[in-house]
């Protein structure tokens, strides 16, 4: 059945020509030389004042990158990217090294204000603890502009800073964990990122600490012809907990821009990491001109026993999304979760999903994915669930639904389910057939019409996904909440 009107309206409200964050910040900016070469890498590394080992690490990645071929298996198409026509470094001139809030260029503060991300640390008023405080790391093009609440976090033992700072200040931690989840040569874009990554966040939560506030990073691409290469590394020591949010926007430009990120999460024994993304990169105009190419490798490693990693993503932006936040469930009893809503409009192309790799005993995972495509967009769910020989009693439940609005879009599902252990139980299904008769009967009994009942049940379900988002992003996700998936196909 076709989508209901309410859904159509909701999706229209976030159509590509409704993009709100397309403004450009007029700020004097410094760029590195164009092109991808050893000089670029050395320049970048020098700019960041990196130690020799880091420079070598990058150069090694660059050499390997030169031998790799761009992957073509995803259901996305775009003209060849000329990596020598890109700038790999762009930073506002006013940013030189870490700053305190007072020193940040007011123009930048205004930009973030406009994006709805106040960077000022809220004062504690008359001893009243403000609720839901969020520490923000603001990344503008290639550099981190400011990180808030750093001192307060430090008191709790939590390290929250830009990755560039971490390379200088905490080399041992970085050396130990960087590239340990996503190896340098993991894939084409991860290798590129390893060579030229610019900035991103570094989080270290020590043993037994529950991070006192939400951490977040806000990525903004401003410059033209610039690639942004985010690198984020989060380490949760034994028994710790951290919730991390990520948001992204970019100005409206006619050229396509590249965002190739690598995010690595490490959860040790009994630790939990919750990672949420609201991805709202510029999606291109209604004719498919411009927009961000979002080629991202995100992976979490449940290294310890009883650890847990949960990915939640709301994807509405980008011209092309190529992104598979994954969990390696290495520790016994570890758990991975993936909740996703991906809405594609206009000419957007989304190829996204997750990988749940069960290695340890009694590991469990859950995948809930909702794809909505409208306009002439293509929306693909691509996922892997695998249980290795030793993953006794692994459990997976997957539900991935898609909804099409209009006749010119496409929705595709490509699940890979590989079981190499007899005691692993995997279930994969689609919702339309899953609204249970019992639930329907219950609602009808209470006087709801059939359509209302379906809406109630299905919407209740989408809310489940949204509720995984921390409060701060719920607002951005709000407009998606009421989207009914009635009429969805498997």
């Amino acid at each position: 059945m076709p989508a209901v009107q309410e859904t159509i309206d909701q999706v229209k409200a976030i159509d590509v020509d409704q993009y709100k964050y397309g403004f450009v910040t007029e700020i004097e900016s410094e760029k590195g030389a164009k092109g991808l070469s050893e000089e670029t890498v050395r320049f970048l590394s020098a700019k960041k004042d990196e130690p020799e080992w880091m420079t070598e690490w990058r150069l090694d990645a660059l050499r390997r990158f030169k031998t790799m071929l761009e992957p073509s298996w995803a259901r996305v198409s775009y003209p060849d990217i000329d990596f020598d026509e890109l700038y790999y470094w762009a930073a506002p001139k006013s940013v030189e090294g870490p700053k305190s809030l007072d020193e940040v260029d007011p123009e930048l503060l205004a930009t973030y204000e406009k994006l709805g991300i106040p960077l000022a640390e809220q004062e504690i008023l008359a001893g009243v603890e403000p609720k839901n405080r969020v520490a923000v790391d603001a990344v503008f093009d290639s550099v981190s502009v400011v990180t808030t609440f750093k001192e307060e976090l430090k008191k709790a033992g939590v390290i929250f800073c830009s990755i560039s700072e971490a390379v200088r200040e905490y080399p041992d931690l970085v050396k130990k964990y960087l590239g340990s989840v996503v190896p340098v040569t993991d894939n084409f874009y991860a290798t590129l990122n390893s060579a030229v990554f610019s900035d991103g966040s570094f989080v270290y939560v020590p043993e037994g600490v529950r991070c006192p506030m939400e951490l977040s990073t806000y990525f903004r691409i401003n410059e033209q012809n610039t690639g942004q290469f985010e690198r984020t590394l989060i380490i949760a020591e034994k028994g710790s907990y951290v919730s991390y949010l990520e948001g992204c926007t970019a100005p409206q430009r006619d050229e396509n821009q590249l965002h190739a990120a690598v995010v690595e999460l490490v959860a040790l024994d009994d630790a939990e990491i919750k990672y949420s993304t609201v991805q709202n990169w510029y999606p291109g105009d209604k004719d498919g001109k411009g927009g961000i190419y979002n080629f991202v490798t995100k992976r979490g490693d449940c290294r310890g026993r009883n650890s847990k990693i949960s990915w939640t993503q709301v994807e509405t932006g980008s011209a092309i999304t190529w992104k598979y936040p994954s969990c390696i469930l290495r520790g016994d009893n570890s758990r991975g979760e993936f909740y996703s809503i991906a809405v594609s409009n206009g000419h957007q192309q989304v190829d996204s999903g997750t990988k749940m790799i069960h290695l340890g005993k009694n590991t469990s995972s859950r995948i809930i994915s909702k794809g909505i495509s409208a306009g002439v967009s293509q929306n693909t769910y691509r996922g892997l669930v695998s249980a290795h020989r030793k993953a006794s009693n692994a459990r997976n439940f997957t539900q991935c639904d898609s909804l099409l609005i209009g006749q010119d879009c496409g929705a595709h599902t490509v699940p890979y389910i590989e079981s190499k252990n007899a005691s692993a139980v995997f279930e994969h299904e689609a919702t339309t057939s899953k609204i249970s008769d019992d639930q329907m009967f219950y609602c009808l009994q209470r006087g709801l019409s059939e359509e209302e009942a379906v809406a109630l049940i299905v919407n209740g379900f989408v809310k489940d996904v949204i509720q995984q988002l921390p409060m701060e992003f719920a607002v951005e996700a709000q407009k998606l909440i009421s989207i009914s998936l009635e009429g969805s196909v498997g």
Binding site: S402, Q407, Y416, I417, N421, A422, E427, E429
Partner: protein, 440 residues
């Protein structure tokens, strides 16, 4: 990625190419057929045998399996065929017509062509048909198959087979059994074209017997189901084989037609049953079932693409797999819904039961949807026998072995019974029991 690189050929590939040069002159076909064969051989030379880097063969690496390629089988002697047929125990005493293809060639003297003619069915030799001016059209490949390696291998080497035509409006009184007989070692490459005329009805049984040694079986069944026609086909892949058994179905379904098929894999070794089902007329139904049972180090691969190119068609795909020892099961299914193929109703389910620690199952139920007013669902499960069910039965005094058998039977029967071809169902369920009995 299909980068244009020259590949290093394996021994199997080298032998296949040498085989082509050897037999090329002897293979039947018009000039245009010969051109198709050469093009297919060139494809093999360029791309090699399908391997795990080719998405459709990710889990069934034929290149790794076919370490060597046997020569094509030479014609069978009549007494050998007779002996093989008398030993054949495919459907017991089920009343049926028989068509015999021995060592790759149609053998009219062992087939019931005369009786079939009375029943409104004509049977012709495929290799003879290939020599006709329009012979090349018999080797057409469906769009959804792309550059499929098995089809290319078939085109290059096809020895013979049959062209069966069911006259419009005729419901054939008895099922037709097409028996592939191997009387000596060597590869068999065949193709059968089955056209079910408008409003006609046919039940088809496909069986394979005999020892081909390390030779491969590569058989293509090309069904054309006319408007308002009905075709039910049962494919039984059983018995020992050292070489790979590679089966391909191409089904083209007209309007208001019904197509039903069951692919039953119970044999050891490397077996792949791939199907390309294409709707070309509206308001048609396709029901595609599969049962795979594998033990030892066998591989049972069921692959299919159902192409809903037109509106208002329904398809159901139900596949069951039981794996023991270190056997591997593969299910790759895709439902395509073309733009404007509105009101499509597709439902795909694949379920696997793993009986041992080492067994492996790969499920890949795909949907590719370009129309907004459709209902498509898919599901996949894999796991072991439910302990609670087992306990329930044992608590009622049923010994463990028997309880297991009962549960496995029940699991597989869901697909076999849905297929709903009564006499065939019984035969197949007996086969399942035999297979399970080996274990116990």
């Amino acid at each position: 990625m299909n980068a244009n690189t020259t590949i290093t050929h394996t021994q199997g590939e080298t032998q296949l190419m040498a085989r082509f040069e050897t037999v090329r002159e002897e293979l039947a076909g018009s000039v245009s057929v010969d051109a198709l064969r050469s093009a297919a051989a060139a494809q093999l030379r360029q791309a090699g045998l399908p391997h795990r880097r080719v998405e459709e063969y990710k889990y069934s690496d034929l290149r790794a399996f076919m370490k060597s390629a046997a020569p094509l089988a030479t014609p069978s002697a009549a007494p050998d065929i007779e002996a093989a047929l008398s030993a054949l125990d495919s459907y017991g005493d089920l009343e049926r017509h028989r068509i015999v293809i021995a060592n790759g060639s149609y053998r009219a003297e062992f087939s019931d062509a005369a009786a079939l003619a009375e029943d409104g069915v004509t049977v012709a030799d495929f290799s003879a048909a290939l020599t006709a001016d329009d012979g090349a059209q018999l080797l057409a490949t469906p769009r959804t198959a792309g550059q499929d390696g098995l089809l290319a291998l078939n085109t290059a080497f096809v020895q013979g087979g049959v062209v069966v035509d069911v006259r419009a409006g005729t419901t054939v009184s008895k099922p037709i059994e097409i028996v592939h007989v191997a009387t000596s070692e060597g590869a068999q490459v065949t193709r059968c074209r089955i056209a079910v005329g408008e409003g006609a009805g046919l039940r088809l049984l496909e069986t394979f017997t005999g020892d081909m040694g390390s030779g491969e079986l590569n058989a293509v069944f090309d069904y054309a189901v006319g408007d308002r026609a009905k075709l039910a086909s049962t494919r039984l892949i059983a018995g020992a084989a050292a070489g790979p058994r590679l089966l391909t179905t191409i089904a083209t379904i007209g309007a208001d037609a019904e197509f039903k098929s069951l692919g039953f894999i119970a044999g050891p070794g490397f077996a792949r049953n791939q199907q390309f089902v294409n709707f070309t007329g509206e308001h048609s139904d396709a029901k595609i079932y599969g049962v795979s049972m594998a033990r030892g180090t066998s591989l049972a691969d069921q692959t299919l693409i159902v192409d809903h190119a037109v509106p208002h068609c329904n398809s159901r795909e139900y596949f069951k797999t039981v794996l023991d020892d270190s056997a591997r099961g593969v299910y790759q299914g895709r439902i395509n819904v073309a733009p404007h193929a509105q009101k499509t109703d597709g439902e795909m389910m694949t379920q696997a039961l793993l009986l041992s620690e080492e067994a492996e199952m790969a499920n890949k139920p795909e949907l590719e949807i370009f129309a907004d007013d459709v209902v498509c669902a898919h599901g996949a499960t894999s796991g072991q026998i439910d302990e609670e069910l087992l306990f329930y039965l044992r608590a009622r005094g049923i010994p463990e072995d028997e309880a297991q058998t009962l549960l496995i039977m029940a699991f597989l029967s869901e697909a076999i019974e849905e297929f709903d071809e009564e006499d065939v169902t019984e035969v197949l369920e007996a086969r399942v029991r035999d297979w399970l009995a080996v274990k116990n």
